[in-house]
Amino acid sequence: MRDIRLLTQTFFPGTLIGPFTQANPGLGGVCTFVGEVRPDSEVEALELSHYEPLTLPGMHALADRAFDRFTLMGLLMVHRVGVLHPGEPIVCVSAAARHRRDAIDAVDFCMDHLKSAAWFWKREKRADGWHWIEPRADDTRDLARW
């Protein structure tokens, strides 16, 4: 079961995980990661922009790589675009597998690639206006793990 989506409105990860688990009968484990906008006294909002012809196809290509690399039964990968506020979910990745290691590693692999190599541009709104977020050295290190 494979469910890859870009969403423009707020979503509730809990409502995705139940049906995803049900859709993978016979699984041995499910691992789920949810990323949210970190509450920060200076950040009022976060905006994610994307490029339609590349962003969702890039997420599908990442899912293909995860299925090739790990023994998975199912993969859910949902990412927000648009304006988000602290506490709102940005991303939810869930993997179902016969064995826990495949599920856990697939989520870790997808998250490292979504954060560092997927086609999203982010800017933060602070009291003095919008600021673009630049690539970080940590992201390169995260990708090098794979």
């Binding site: 954060k115 086609w119 800017r123 673009w132 977020i133 630049e134 940590d138 995260d142």
Partner: protein
Amino acid sequence: MVLLGKLADLAGAPTLTLPAPSSAPLDWDGVIAALPPALAAAAGDPRNRVALNGALLADKLALHAADGDEIALLPPVSGG
């Protein structure tokens, strides 16, 4: 032309229309020459990638755009 991330801010808009050259296809140097100076300087960052009609180019110097094509200029993606 579609501008992503901070390049859209520098352009003052998320898209620009460039005149198609009458003779040869538009190449990368032609794109840079057609951009406003502040945007042209930022567009020259070697980390930027270019897509033509939604397909990423391995080498932006290989760009050959015809009338009506969509060129996207993609700065490095933001980190976590």
